[in-house]
């Protein structure tokens, strides 16, 4: 079913479905809730104003994820990674965990995981974030990044290996 980016009914439907995805992607790129909110807002404004007709809601979703991902990466670049990390430590508390049952990881471990993700090269990081937090499969990630499915597979694998190494270096053992 076609989706018009500026049709108010389809816009609302796309918003409901896609906002959580791009919010998570933007957050896990920036690790800053306010920045992620700005990214989502900007992505949807561009989406609405472009007046594109997408062949399906999935295509609209891929477009939005691609734009949000780029906006988030640009945000991080603009801020500078070290500066962003500094700000996060000072002003951005980690999101509180909700239930005791979920709270397997201590805050310290969570911070280590987040920092390790940020140290990954961009190509690996993007794939990992889209896979883990965007809930997308290899085929979808390939479409968003304009790369082949097998390339996504390789990057996901390498991202995991590097991540394990980085987390282990911090004295937290994955195994």
């Amino acid at each position: 079913m076609e989706v018009k980016s500026s049709g108010s009914e389809s816009f609302q439907r796309v918003y409901q479905e896609v906002f959580p995805v791009i919010m998570r992607v933007a957050y896990h790129v920036t690790y800053n809730v306010d920045a992620a909110e700005d990214v989502c807002q900007e992505a949807f404004i561009r989406f609405y104003n472009r007046e594109i007709t997408f062949p399906s809601i999935d295509e609209a979703k891929y477009w939005l994820i691609r734009v949000a991902k780029n906006l988030a990466i640009n945000y991080v670049k603009r801020k500078g990674r070290e500066q962003a990390a500094f700000d996060r430590m000072k002003r951005q508390p980690l999101p509180a965990m909700k239930t005791g049952e979920e709270q397997v990881l201590g805050d310290e471990t969570r911070a280590v995981v987040q920092q390790a993700i940020q140290q990954l090269p961009e190509k690996l990081r993007t794939v990992l974030i889209l896979k883990e937090y965007g809930d997308l499969n290899y085929r979808e990630i390939g479409k968003i990044l304009h790369i082949t499915e097998s390339n996504v597979k390789v990057r996901a694998h390498r991202a995991r290996l590097q991540l394990m190494k980085l987390i282990d270096q911090e004295g937290i053992h994955v195994s």
């Binding site: 909110e37 961009e122 790369i147 082949t148 597979k153």
Partner: protein, 236 residues
């Protein structure tokens, strides 16, 4: 033969097809070494999952952004304010009592020129404003009752607006509006900017800064050398 990490990674991602999937499950069940590596991947996955931003951690943001988009992007929705009355201070009252909302004829023409492309006949937007004096029961300062109606198929929904709301609406739509006194036709105040500058093809106000380049499907936000491409990345 033991499993390589790539296969385990694909398995964790739920991307391994049959019959390999079953083979991996069987192999893990009897090979301690591969099971150990699988558990490492699984543990990492669990760690990543636990750092995930939960839905209830961004529900406020989701609502806030939607409200913003509704206000700025979406076509004006009919609202439920009716016959709002408000008082003016004496000098403003004097001006307002004689005020008319005048859309400059040239602007109407321009706008029509934009939206009225061949094959897209649309009615000319018209606006009427009525201004009347209403006693407010307090003697001294009369209250000015104002009602305004906008007539146009879609861009401006028919509704009753106060002068303030009307001005805001018109400004949002990119119209240039001048308040004039009916006696002297001296401009009291002007709102908005030139429609040629703000009006886009839908007749709604354009958002964002002029220097901003919209994103395209090509990843133009990123410098070309940093685009994700597969040519510089060897597959297995």
């Amino acid at each position: 033969m033991c499993l390589d990490d790539q296969v385990l990674s694909s398995y964790i991602d739920g991307e391994l097809q049959e019959p390999w999937k079953t083979q991996v499950v069987e192999h893990i069940s009897h090979c301690a070494e591969c099971r150990g590596r699988y558990e490492q991947f699984a543990r990492l996955d669990q760690m990543l999952y636990e750092t995930r931003l939960k839905s209830d951690e961004f529900s406020t943001q989701q609502q806030r952004v939607w409200k913003y988009l509704e206000k700025t992007c979406m076509p004006a929705q009919p609202k439920k304010f009716k016959h709002k009355r408000f008082a003016f201070s004496a000098p403003a009252m004097a001006a307002a009592a004689a005020a008319m909302v005048v859309m400059l004829g040239a602007n109407v023409f321009l706008i029509r020129g934009v939206i009225g492309e061949p094959g897209a006949e649309q009615p000319i937007p018209t606006l009427t404003a009525e201004v009347q004096q209403v006693p407010n029961g307090m003697g001294e300062e009369p209250v000015i009752g104002v009602s305004a109606r906008a007539h146009r198929a879609s861009a401006i929904a028919p509704q009753e607006l106060t002068v303030d709301e009307l001005l805001v609406l018109l400004e949002q739509k990119g119209f240039e509006v001048e308040l004039k006194r009916s006696d002297s036709m001296t401009p009291v105040q002007s709102y908005g900017a030139s429609p040629a500058a703000q009006q886009d093809s839908r007749g709604t106000a354009r958002l964002g800064t002029p220097e901003e380049t919209p994103a395209t499907e090509k990843e133009e936000e990123l410098p070309p050398e940093e685009q994700d491409g597969w040519s510089d990345w060897e597959d297995y």
